[in-house]
């Protein structure tokens, strides 16, 4: 009798290069610690946090959330397309994803610009210190993610990937989703809940 065979479950590997996953785990750890520090610092500076949070720009925050989610979605479609060997469609989805990322960057720069022109800096108070650090650090990740996306976009466009060989696309996609995931927590934490 051979009942072991039946019990073998076929697991998928993590999508993309394993290296990016170790990197993602490490990055999530960094953000996790930042989020937890924020939450507990707020606990001990309740009035200050609640007061200044009102002045954050929730509208751009929300628009930016939708942009990142949508961008992530486009990148999912790009991976789907390359799995079906449709590299040009895939490149188009990637381009759309990149476009959303760029829009995010523009809105974010406008938002930062407004805060800076009000004379707000890291030293203004502990709330703004966290606000600028969290959003600023995330912002740099958006930029890095976009560089990676642009890189795989070019390669996809040149038909360097196909149904059998698209590790690169999945690698970039995984990182980009991580950037999205972090924002999904950051936005309500810093802009909304009180």
């Amino acid at each position: 009798m051979n009942h072991t065979d039946k019990n073998i479950v076929q697991y998928k590997p993590l999508p993309g290069d394993f290296a990016i996953w170790v990197f993602i785990f490490a990055e999530l750890l960094v953000f996790g610690i930042l989020f937890i520090s924020y939450a507990f610092t707020r606990k001990y500076n309740l009035e200050l946090f609640n007061h200044h949070q009102q002045f954050l720009d929730r509208e751009t925050g929300a628009i930016n959330t939708v942009l990142l989610i949508t961008s992530s979605y486009f990148v999912v479609r790009a991976v789907d397309a390359i799995k079906k060997n449709m590299s040009q469609q895939s490149a188009r989805w990637l381009a759309l994803g990149l476009l959303c990322g760029a829009a995010f960057v523009v809105f974010k720069i406008l938002e930062f610009n407004e805060k800076f022109s009000e004379g707000i800096t890291l030293s203004t108070n502990i709330f703004y210190m966290f606000y600028l650090c969290l959003t600023g650090f995330h912002f740099m990740h958006v930029l890095l993610g976009m560089v990676i996306l642009a890189f795989i976009l070019v390669k996809t466009h040149r038909r360097k990937y196909n149904a059998d060989d698209h590790d690169g696309v999945e690698t970039g996609a995984s990182y980009w989703h991580m950037v999205d995931l972090v924002w999904i927590i950051l936005f309500p934490l810093v802009y909304i809940i009180r």
Binding site: I36, A39, K43, L46, E170, I184, Y191
Partner: protein, 90 residues
């Protein structure tokens, strides 16, 4: 394949819709300016749902080894739980 199977693209689109909807709810709650346990619970629950789907479906962890899913979903759950604690007793 059954008749009701939906393609992975359709599924992704549905999830995208869900994510956008939840974001609008979150924003709406912020806009009204309500605060308190009730709002925080709803917002954090929506973070959990959104995060869960991004991890499982967008990042594609569904169907991978248990340890990876535990690691990622566990991270999400932990962060949200810690935030909830910090906000609950504030």
């Amino acid at each position: 394949m059954t008749r009701f199977a939906i393609t992975s693209s359709t599924k992704a689109t549905l999830i995208w819709l869900l994510l956008v909807l939840l974001t609008l709810v979150t924003y709406g709650l912020g806009k009204i300016g309500y605060s308190g346990t009730f709002v925080i619970t709803i917002v954090l629950a929506s973070v959990l749902i959104k995060g869960h789907h991004i991890i499982a479906d967008f990042m594609g962890l569904r169907g991978t080894e248990k340890k990876w899913r535990w690691l990622m979903q566990g991270w999400l759950l932990l962060i949200v739980a810690v935030i909830a604690t910090a906000y609950r007793y504030s």
